[in-house]
Amino acid sequence: MHNLANPQRFEKLAIRLTPLLSIAAGVTALFGLYYALFNSPADYQQGESVRIMYVHVPAAWMALMCYSTMAIASGVGFIWKHPLADVTAKSTAPIGAAFTFLALVTGSIWGKPMWGTWWAWDARLTSVLILFFLYLGYIALWSAIDDKTRAAKVAAIACLVGFINIPIIKFSVDWWNSLHQPASVLRGGGPTIHQSMLTPLLLMGIAYGLTFAALLLISMRAELAERRIARLEQSARAPSKAMIL
């Protein structure tokens, strides 16, 4: 109640930003896809199949980014009780789950021609699958608890405990010798991707990031609207006062 001003200012900003972000995401995606599909070379080893990378790798980045966003928002909501923090965390979860799912599916499609299998239980693949289930558990927890203030705090705990999985995913390919190849872009010693392939990859990464931002704003506004409705429904009865006789 006392912090209503803040979400309202946020909503005004969100209404203005959403179309800008959406357009930017679309334009970047068009450029990215043009480079990825037509204006980048085939790989010396993988041939044309390498183009799956341009949809797969950014999705995997976003999967990790979304969970990190959730964890940070949960921490902020926990410590500073900022009213937008738990709205952010809650709204990020389904988007993150979708990116994780996309990463799993495109990875599977890439794995079949390259490795010779749709799926392998190696450390990277397994830990990303676990990430997907962590997202589902988080979403389930939110939807199971009716009281939103309580749900926010309880889900924040679940989110923060699950964060242990993020470094495991990132370093799984270095710690265990796995089927999945090691990091190519975010690694010590610079990327091991040729510039002609790095450009479309980064463009697609930016497009995914902008898409995430736009989707997040939309779903946060929906969540705020839902909360306003809930508040209106409840205000039928004024809080009790105490009289000491």
């Binding site: 009865r237 809080p239 009790s240 006062k241 009289m243």
Partner: protein
């Protein structure tokens, strides 16, 4: 008894507190100071926030606004549920709570006799009546040796004799420099004491 310097010797002091339940603000602007000897009867219609207020004073529920000061181990809370395990005998329950509150045996003897637990001391919780379970639950309150008793419908399910015993017990506790806040719908007569009316209109 009413004229004491502000906050001196206060066990629990609530200033302007508000509390939520299920996302709805049920209480607001409640100011209350509890010191030794104070006995409050908490009244109000269903849903007025009696339980919420008790839980907030107990420090079990977060308050939505206001300030709450509690001295260490100031209070003990008895809710609607008795905390009596079906699989444990009354004796086992008591010895468990004795360990939790590190109470001397004499206190237990006293609690057993005052609340007349003896007849069902070796019966399991499952076979006790609602009133018997309630009496056993009150034993825990006595054993805790905490000064402020926060009791939610302490006499529910009890017969007239037991109700009398409980009322006497609470009154005596307050005379011995204890304190109590008792939420009840029943017309209990504690003698001296004040009433807290919780109401939309109040």
């Amino acid at each position: 008894m009413d004229e004491r310097p502000a906050d001196a010797g206060r066990l629990i002091a609530a200033r302007d507190i508000a509390a939520q339940r299920g996302g709805r603000l049920v209480l607001s602007g409640v100011t209350l100071a509890i010191g030794p000897g104070d006995l409050f009867i908490l009244r109000g219609p269903n849903g007025a926030g009696k339980t919420t207020l008790l839980r907030t004073l107990a420090g079990l529920s977060q308050r939505a606004a206001g300030a709450l000061k509690r001295s260490d181990n100031a209070s003990v809370f008895l809710g609607h549920a008795d905390g009596v395990k079906a699989a444990l005998t009354a004796r086992e329950s008591l010895s468990f709570w004795r360990m939790i509150y590190s109470a001397p045996p004499a206190i237990i003897e006293r609690a057993i006799s005052r609340l007349n637990i003896f007849p069902f001391l070796d019966q399991r919780g499952a076979s006790l009546s609602a009133g018997q379970r309630r009496r056993l639950a009150l034993c825990r309150i006595v054993i805790s040796r905490r000064p402020v008793w926060l009791l939610d419908e302490p006499t529910s399910g009890m017969d007239a004799v037991s109700i009398r015993a409980v009322v006497d017990l609470i009154a005596e506790h307050c005379r011995d420099d204890g304190a109590a806040v008792v939420a009840t719908h029943e017309p209990l007569d504690f003698g001296p004491g004040r009433t807290i009316m919780l109401d939309e209109a109040a």
